[in-house]
């Protein structure tokens, strides 16, 4: 057990080191994430002005901007750029052999590498995030109660795991189809629209919102933001956390299963 923890810690450290190699690209990528905030503020100001109402589906302009900032934070946890496509490339180009030959588990390795990348990202982005939230503090109605904040933190951590295992499972499809870029594009579109990253899901018709609530997508952005803003409370909040946890466990199982099946297929047909 100790030896395994030591291995994980070493992988984690090396992944952090690797992340810090290309400093310029990394710093630019981190800072560029904040640019869309300005356009979003202008966009929603224009939307509310043309609608001529103070609220849309219970959201004021301030609520929408606050919601947008929170989804940005949630996506910083749940988005996994390059994970599925990287895995697909490794399978296509045969680099995956390393994990068949060496005594190391592919999924644990990818999870550690991603955790390391995220930790480095948070360390660098904490300053800019804090500054942006400070500058936009008037859009928020103060801090939520402690129990809501804790639920928010739990939903964020679950969104990281859900995002990781969902994306890794998509990558595993490459064991069956060598070219998966179109599939990944469709997957990205689904996330884009149904995670609530574009707009609060309350803006959708009730029926569709209730359907989407049972899919994994809202838990990548909408749900943590809605928890923080107090849009979901009490039993609805608990139900949301249960659904999020269930999807996370579901994708953990699916990811492992598809890796094992993929290995069998790879070793049977290709290599």
């Amino acid at each position: 057990m100790f030896a395994r923890a030591e291995t994980w810690w070493t992988i984690f450290k090396i992944c952090v080191e690797e992340r810090l190699v290309y400093r310029g690209d990394f710093a630019l990528g981190t800072l560029m994430r904040f640019l869309p905030i300005v356009t979003q503020i202008f966009l929603w100001t224009a939307v509310f002005a043309s609608a001529g109402t103070a609220t849309i589906q219970g959201f004021t302009r301030e609520d929408v901007v606050a919601y947008y900032l929170l989804t940005m934070l949630a996506r910083a946890f749940s988005s996994m750029p390059g994970l599925a496509s990287g895995l697909a490339r490794q399978i296509r180009e045969g680099e995956i052999k390393k994990f068949l030959i060496q005594p190391i588990d592919l999924i644990s390795y990818l999870l550690l590498a991603r955790t390391a990348h995220k930790v480095v990202y948070y360390l660098i982005a904490t300053g800019p995030f804090a500054l942006v939230f400070y500058l936009c503090r008037d859009y928020f109605h103060g801090w939520p109660p402690i129990e809501v904040f804790l639920a928010f933190v739990v939903s964020l951590l679950l969104s990281f795991l859900l995002g990781f295992y969902m994306e890794a499972t998509m990558g595993m499809i490459s064991f069956w189809f060598l070219e998966v870029s179109s599939l990944l594009f469709v997957h990205m579109l689904f996330i884009f629209f149904f995670s609530g990253h574009m707009f609060p899901l309350e803006f959708l018709p009730d029926f569709w919102k209730s359907v989407i609530d049972y899919t994994p997508f809202p838990y990548l952005a909408y749900f943590p933001s809605a928890v923080f803003l107090g849009k979901v409370q009490g039993a609805v909040l608990v139900k949301g956390l249960v659904i999020e946890a269930a999807w996370t466990v579901g994708f953990i199982v699916l990811c492992r299963f598809s890796m094992q099946a993929g290995y069998r297929r790879y070793s049977g047909y290709g290599g």
């Binding site: 030896a3 030591e6 291995t7 070493t10 992988i11 090396i14 080191e17 690797e18 190699v21 290309y22 045969g94 680099e95 052999k97 390393k98 068949l100 030959i101 060496q102 005594p103 190391i104 069998r264 790879y266 070793s267 049977g268 047909y269 290709g270 290599g271």
Partner: protein
């Protein structure tokens, strides 16, 4: 005791068969034809502990397929194999800690980081005790003369330097069986020689079992006493390097140096003329004819020097490979 035991091991793939042209491409959207290709036909082979065996064959002969089977990357379509008592494709961690596979065309190190970081990772993955790790790493680095390169990112290393790092990484956990797939591919002569020297020394010191595939006969001649040749997925030869010439070459090369610079006009009556640079000539003569030709040449001409040699190994093997390719065409046609 055998380190590797292979019994009737075979592997076939289902390959998509596409016809030429746009219409065929449209048709393939609805219906695809597949064909079974035997990458390895039932193979039997034993390799004793501590042997250094070369695995030769033309491209597509099944060499890499065999190495992939023995390292557990792929599962067979039939047959059995035991390496150090383990079935490779079960991929038990206990087995994975006892062998290593180095592929000349694949990089296993972290591209953007110095190799020492990859070594550290290998230490943890293979659970190598710290003192043993430091000792092995330093020993390998000294042997390969690359201490000064350890801190340099892998992407900045030359191909030869990178191969040294790959070998070090593969040997850190002191594997008992080493599979080498074209380890010197693309390297210049000096780098090739250094890798050969290292492999020879290391194998003799540690008595590990090595299976090597290479297209460079110099690798094979420098390292292996035993040569296994497969062609079209089948074993065609298993024996010594010298034995290949005896078995597969029906010719010898006769080198003649004529006295006083006098070259006779018609040499083709003795055999096939390979080269003439006056006053020297090289002839290809059938083995069965060599005694008769020698006495005729000596009787008819004044010579300063004469020698009878085996043809170069590359030539014999190339001849053999092209023969097997022709047989394949005949068999499939």
């Amino acid at each position: 005791m055998n380190a590797i035991e292979i019994r009737q091991l075979e592997k076939s793939y289902r390959v998509y068969q596409k016809n030429e042209g746009l219409w065929a491409s449209v048709q393939s959207l609805f219906h695809r034809d597949y064909r079974e290709v035997a990458a390895l036909k039932p193979l039997d082979l034993d390799v004793a502990q501590g042997e250094f065996v070369a695995f030769l064959g033309p491209n597509g002969a099944g060499k890499t397929t065999t190495l992939k089977l023995l390292s557990g990357v792929i599962s067979p379509s039939g047959g059995e194999a035991r390496v150090l008592g383990h079935t490779p494709w079960l991929r038990e961690n206990e087995y994975r800690r006892r062998f290593a596979l180095v592929m000349g065309q694949k990089n296993q190190l972290w591209w953007d980081l110095p190799a020492q970081e990859s070594f550290l990772l290998h230490q943890k993955i293979y659970r190598i005790p710290p003192d043993q790790f430091a000792r092995t790493r330093d020993e390998l680095c000294d042997l390969l003369e690359m201490q000064h390169l350890l801190g340099r990112p892998v992407r900045e290393l030359s191909l030869g330097e990178r191969m040294k790092m790959e070998l070090t990484a593969a040997l850190l956990h002191s594997p008992e069986v080493l599979f080498l797939d074209e380890p010197t591919i693309g390297l210049d002569v000096i780098a090739q020689h250094n890798i050969q020297k290292f492999l020879k020394h290391y194998q003799q010191e540690r008595k590990i079992t090595v299976l090597l595939t290479s297209h460079y006969m110099k690798d094979v001649a420098a390292l292996c006493r035993r040569v296994v040749i497969i062609a079209r997925g089948q074993l065609v030869y298993d024996g010594s390097l010298e034995g290949i010439i005896d078995r597969f070459s029906g010719h010898k090369v006769l080198s003649l140096l004529f006295a006083n610079g006098r070259m006779p006009g018609d040499l083709s009556r003795y055999g096939e003329v390979l080269e003439i640079v006056e006053p020297k000539a090289r002839l290809r003569v059938a083995r069965s004819e060599i005694a008769r030709v020698l006495s005729a040449v000596l009787a008819n001409h004044t010579l300063e020097d004469i020698s009878v040699e085996d043809p170069p190994l590359e030539e014999v093997i190339a001849e053999m490979f092209s023969l097997s390719a022709k047989e394949e065409v005949v068999a499939s046609g």
